[in-house]
């Protein structure tokens, strides 16, 4: 009897002990990016009227007023200026936007020319647009980066902006410049200055190591958060990038943890012995949705992100899981097998008015509401797994990919691009991909090892 009692207690107590044993070094938080100069009132029209894919943009190296040493580049601020232009060029090129020409194929403008370009120098290079910029080391150790976009035909400035960044954040200034150029020319919201959380995978199919990792939107500044001793899955950034919620088996059971990026500490999303899955943040960061299984039945719950009592939002028999807020936080799209197979449903944020929206054949899984609100991306299971989009009423279904197993869409901050992960048949190897809303420009994202479960965060604060 005593033995049985002890055994039972051990069984229940074990999950509480092992927390936090899988975490690597805490990640340093980035500095503030201060906008120092912008071009309010400069809203002239763009002369180019063709397809934006054909728009030539010359992006020579950024100039510096004085080539001085900087922690951002061993070659000093002059070399950093060239590197800034390279990052902007690859941002635009890799996303299939415009026809950018980078600094390695162009002459280097002088510092004085940044605000007064010698247009004759650039007129015979087939570029309709010209990006100029500068980098200047400040007395306080930070860097000022300025970014200017000129219309070659009009020979006039279309937009300009400047930022003060810590040397470690120099790439953010390049992404902000790429965002400025992209937004000004396309009329869309920015997306380059953002990060992605995902799961890095290594090892054979029957013994995969799965680690929580983060990186910038272009794959740079890659960091592992967990060591890989226990399996980590399905991360999501909080909207302010201060926290990551994700599933970990660190105590032997699948449970959702909330990891504080600044302090390196993590807590359970809810104090329960039951398994929890599928974390999602509300757009304002005040709530976390998660799913919890009890006796084989899984329901969706909502808990204040600051802590508090979870409230159950679904109560039908079966698996209700996932859940993704509309941008205004008023509604939630989720998946449920209450009808007999996985389908997508919408409910109000308090759980009321649940109704199915997917009726177009096949199954509907992992729905994610676009940050623009007009589309829902989901995994469409109809034989193979594809990434598809539909309107919030379930109409206008369009498949965007044709892989054998494409799964788990996540939206770019501006709702124009979708990332997902692709699993290879037989080998089980995984990789991150993205495709734009038209189904064009599908490309694989470079990651150091195999990768799954991408989660694209909003524009960095």
């Amino acid at each position: 009897m005593k033995k049985l009692l002890i055994a039972s207690i051990t069984l229940l107590a074990a999950p509480l002990l092992a927390q936090g044993q899988d975490l690597g070094q805490p990640v340093e938080e980035g500095g503030e990016v201060e906008t120092v100069e912008d071009s309010e009132g400069l809203s002239g029209t763009v002369s180019f009227e063709g397809n934006l894919d054909d728009l030539g943009i010359a992006i020579p190296g950024f100039a510096t007023d004085a080539d001085v040493a900087t922690p951002a580049n061993s070659g000093g601020t002059a070399a950093l200026g060239k590197e800034l232009a390279r990052v902007i060029t690859s941002d635009l090129r890799n996303n299939g936007l415009f026809k950018p020409t980078g600094p390695d194929a162009l002459p280097q403008p002088r510092f004085a020319e940044i605000t007064a370009p010698s247009f004759a120098t650039w007129s015979n290079r087939g570029a309709e647009m010209l990006v100029h910029g500068y980098v200047r080391a400040r007395g306080d150790g930070r860097l000022t980066v300025g970014c200017y976009l000129y219309d070659m035909q009009l020979q006039s400035q279309l937009v300009r902006e400047g930022w003060v960044v810590q040397p470690a954040d120099w790439r953010r200034a390049a992404h902000k410049c790429a965002d400025l150029v992209y937004s000004r020319l396309s009329g869309e919201s920015p997306f380059f200055d953002s990060r992605i959380a995902y799961i890095a995978e290594t090892g054979p199919k029957d013994n995969r190591t799965k680690r929580l990792a983060i990186m910038d939107s272009d794959g740079a500044n890659h960091r592992f958060i967990t060591t890989g001793r226990s399996t980590a899955l399905t991360p999501r950034y909080s909207p302010d990038y201060g926290k990551l919620s994700y599933l970990s088996y660190v105590d032997g059971n699948p449970r959702i943890y909330v990891y504080d990026i600044g302090t390196g500490h993590q807590t359970l999303v809810t104090q329960s012995a039951n398994p929890t899955f599928a974390p999602r943040w509300s757009p304002d960061g005040r709530w976390i949705l998660f799913s919890m299984a009890a006796g084989g039945n899984t329901d969706i719950y909502r808990v204040p992100s600051a802590g508090g009592e979870p409230r159950r939002l679904t109560d039908t028999p079966g698996i209700d899981i996932g859940g993704s807020y509309s941008p205004d936080g008023s509604r939630i799209v989720f998946e449920s097998d209450r009808s007999g197979s996985q389908q997508c449903y919408i409910m109000n944020a308090d759980g009321s008015n649940q109704r199915r929206i997917s009726f177009s054949g096949g199954r509907c899984a992992t729905p994610e509401w676009s940050p623009r609100g007009d589309q829902i991306a989901f995994t469409r299971i109809a034989g193979d797994f594809n990434i598809a989009v539909m309107s919030p009423s379930g109409s206008g279904v369009r498949a965007l990919t044709r892989g054998w197993q494409d799964e788990a869409p996540t939206w770019a901050p501006n709702g124009r691009i979708i990332q997902f992960f692709r699993t290879e048949r037989n080998s089980g190897k995984t990789s991150l991909w993205q495709v734009d809303l038209t189904g064009e420009n599908e490309r694989r994202l470079p990651t150091p090892v195999d990768a799954s479960d991408p989660a694209w965060g909003p524009i960095l604060p």
Binding site: L4, P275, A278, A293, N297, T298, D453
Partner: protein, 170 residues
């Protein structure tokens, strides 16, 4: 002390019955026998009670895992036969606690499969509880599609991966 144990067992069975009333097994299990058929005696040199090897040797490897149809979690006649053999073993060693792992094939989305694996592990657990094994002795854990045993991407492999495996963890 014995009264407390008895109360505990009755409570556990009551909870188990309540949990089972939602979805009864398709075939009713036989009533628990008063005197379980003794399993083969272990030789002193063999693996000790409480090890996975002892369990496997006693019930046979095939009886440690039950399999499911695509997206299903019901315990069919073949499964209940296997689980009855397991119940007999755990009835004979009432001090043992054990784990049921629920698994899925790769042809499902990751999060859904975590929930489905939990459902499968629970179906096996509920069956064992219904034939008299206290729920407090059984831990369930879902691995979704994260831990396949068969590595191909074909029906044969997927059928082997849709499973609930009973494990003794030392």
């Amino acid at each position: 002390m014995n009264t407390r144990l008895a109360t505990g067992l009755i409570l556990a069975s009551t909870i188990a019955l309540a949990a089972c009333s939602k979805k009864a097994p398709e075939e009713l299990p036989p009533p628990p026998t008063e005197q379980p058929t003794p399993l083969p005696d272990r030789t002193p040199a063999g693996p000790g009670v409480g090890t996975q090897q002892h369990f496997v040797d006693a019930v046979g490897i095939a009886n440690t895992v039950v399999y499911f149809e695509t997206d299903r979690f019901n315990i069919d006649a073949e499964d209940s036969g296997k689980l009855q053999v397991q119940a007999q073993y755990f009835g004979q060693y009432p001090d043992l606690t054990f784990t049921i792992e629920g698994h899925c094939d790769e042809r499902g989305t990751r999060e859904y499969n975590l929930a489905l694996g939990e459902r499968r592990a629970n179906a096996a657990k509920n069956y064992l509880v219904s034939v008299g094994i206290p729920a407090s002795r059984i831990r369930t854990v879902s691995y979704g599609k994260e831990r396949p045993v068969a590595l191909g991407s074909n029906e044969g492999s997927w059928a082997q991966n849709r499973r609930a495996a009973t494990i003794l963890i030392n």
